[in-house]
């Protein structure tokens, strides 16, 4: 099926639906968009744009949040 694309999320390959947006990916990963920041191919995706950005085959996505640190 050509319905899937392969992207790299936080260093791991993942197959997702071809029509996925950034927000769709967060839903699949069960992540709250208010608690994370998303980078697509080393460019930050502002939160309001998450639902507009269509992911493409080969995209590299980083999803980060705040953790304990000094």
């Amino acid at each position: 099926m050509s319905g899937m694309i392969r992207v790299v999320v936080n260093g791991q390959e993942r197959d997702i639906d071809r029509s996925s947006t950034g927000l769709d990916l967060l839903r699949v990963l069960e992540l709250d968009p208010r608690t994370v920041v998303v980078e697509l191919n080393e460019e930050i995706v502002r939160r309001p744009s998450l639902s507009e950005i269509r992911l493409r085959d080969g995209d590299r996505i980083e999803i980060v949040h705040f953790v304990g640190g000094g």
Partner: protein, 265 residues
């Protein structure tokens, strides 16, 4: 007879136009558990808490970020660029941190060496210049080197954060002279960051006249982090007040405190 006693009153610490209610800033790393962390931070009275930016662990996607435990409405979140070894990496992490949406402050670290975690001052200056241009309020973790500190101030940093000793070492303030001279020569706030191991270290550091102190391991690795949090609160306040009070001159011979006249014949 009435005499008027003047009591020294401190001004609040102000960095980049924001007033802070505590001169003690604490990290949130390396605690045994989150309950202890929250209690220790509360005991310390710190308003500013540092956090790091890291990948969400997708294998444990229910993993809680630090904000699950610390209410960002009660604390001032200061994101760091810890773990970055190049200016470009630090800039990338700073942008991600700002996008999280809390504030435009960043504790900028560009590390130059794994063993000492000493900063790469060339990379630090490069990153500071870029981030200041982008509107960040940069608080730069640096060596206790006056010239670097002056360059960071010239670059527009909101605060300069010289180390007392290496990160996580607990060696205390190894060179009070360099810290004093940095404080004397800079106009922006000087916050000593890293190396404080126990309350006396924090007190001595504040007695040098610096504007604040940041620590993490001293609390997190104490046998009782909550008690150490309280100790650090007292120590930072005591050191600050002692500095403002102006200490007596030291001398190597005794001077009696009781009258030498009126002794029995």
């Amino acid at each position: 007879m009435t005499t008027s006693a003047t009591t020294t009153v401190d001004r609040p610490l102000t960095i980049g136009g924001r007033e802070f209610r505590s001169r003690l800033m604490v990290g949130t790393g390396k605690y045994q558990n989150n309950t202890t962390m929250v209690e220790a931070i509360e005991a310390s009275g710190a308003e500013t808490i540092t956090v790091a930016v890291r990948r969400v662990d997708l294998d444990r996607s229910k993993q809680e970020g630090i904000l699950y435990h610390l209410d960002p409405a009660r604390f001032f979140l200061l994101a760091n660029t810890a773990g970055c070894y190049t200016a470009n990496d630090a800039i990338r992490y700073a942008r991600l941190a700002r996008e999280a949406g809390f504030n435009e402050f960043i504790k900028l670290e560009v590390i130059g060496d794994e063993e000492t975690l000493f900063p790469d001052v060339a990379g630090l200056l490069e990153a500071a210049e870029v981030l200041v241009r982008e509107g960040f309020k940069v608080m730069a973790y640096t060596n206790d080197d006056l010239i670097t500190a002056l360059r960071l101030e010239d670059a527009g940093c909101a605060a300069v954060m010289p180390l007392a000793s290496p990160i996580g070492s607990g060696l205390g303030l190894v060179n009070p002279y360099t810290i004093r001279i940095i404080k004397r020569r800079l106009s922006v706030p000087v916050i000593v960051d890293a190396g404080v191991g126990t309350a006396s270290d924090a007190c001595v550091t504040m007695e040098q006249g610096v504007d604040g102190v940041l620590m993490n391991t001293a609390l997190a690795a104490a046998a009782d982090p909550v008690a150490m949090g309280r100790a650090m609160k007292c120590a930072v306040e005591a050191g600050r007040l002692a500095f403002l009070a102006g200490r007596m001159k030291q001398r190597e011979i005794a001077v009696p405190s009781s009258p030498t006249k009126g002794m029995l014949g």
